[in-house]
Symmetry: C2
DNA sequence: CCAATTTAGTTATATATCATATCTATTATG
DNA sequence: CATAATAGATATGATATATAACTAAATTGG
């Protein structure tokens, strides 16, 4: 007679007690919520998080190169190419050859790009105001400081 | 004569001033750092974040079903299948048929699975201790509370 | 009781993300 | 001037994530 399968019963409630001890777990779960809402916020503009981020950085830093942008976004250069391709195809930015270095492109927002960027930033501001409505200014400031510290580590 | 390309010069430093106003941006950047270090931490165990998470949850909740686990991890059931396949192939867990519901599997950790889980959790604890060395207990607790609030929103 | 529906898991598929190697054109260096 | 380094692009592979549709089993409602 085989040994009994020692009480196979599904737990009523799944416990994440071990994972909860980790700050990274809480960061991941919270960021998932933020990103889901951000994705929905950017959808009307036909932007994703990466294309939005690239567009904002190009508008804030007109003339920067793809290498500079990839470094700022902390992604690999090959992965930036398709993002820039998309923004250029939609005529939100231009690749302009740099006279002093004909290998590099200066990324310049078009008027349409600047307008879309402004609208998207405003929408993201509203998204954050809604999402973080429970956070007072102190919590928010403390959070940013703590996250910056982690990022800097 | 074409209009001059109005001072195309690459910025010396790329500014992220607009993005910095957003909490989500700081969350993403900080989590990138955490995840990169976590990935390196789990590498010696041949675990990724998802396989690690699944293994820990199975050890904490032996007997749970794939549907329960997918819900707990907030991923789609089809995407869980390959994760469970991998853990089972490595004999870290077993799929055991539930007598009372022969559609479902009860996920049970093996002895090797429990051991690997313990070691991995200890390594992740060390990883967090190192990564968050600049955070005192108050900051850490405040952070978890804030993140939980965001997640709950 | 049995037909219809629902559920658990799987398969197939498509898209997005992210890393590495390699290629070209161009620039910088010894 | 030959060599090395850099900017961008291409190709490729691994991972992550979402949806539709399938099989087998359980539940339901007439």
């Amino acid at each position: 007679m085989p040994a009994p399968e020692q009480d196979i019963k599904q737990p009523t409630r799944v416990s994440d007690e071990t994972l909860r001890r980790f700050l990274g777990y809480h960061m991941k779960r919270a960021f998932n919520v933020v990103q889901a809402d951000l994705t929905a916020t950017l959808k009307p503009f036909d932007l994703r998080m990466l294309t939005y981020t690239a567009l904002v950085l190009i508008c804030d830093n007109p003339g920067l190169s793809q290498t500079q942008l990839a470094a700022a976004m902390d992604i690999e250069r090959p992965n930036l190419v398709v993002i820039i391709d998309e923004l250029e195809r939609r005529e939100l930015i231009n690749r302009t050859r740099v006279p002093t270095d004909r290998r590099a492109y200066a990324l310049i927002p078009t008027l349409a790009g600047k307008r879309l960027c402004e609208q998207a930033v405003a929408a993201v501001q509203a998204h954050e105001a809604k999402l973080f409505v429970g956070l007072d200014d102190d919590m928010r400031a403390a959070m940013i400081e703590t996250l910056s510290k982690v990022r800097g580590t």
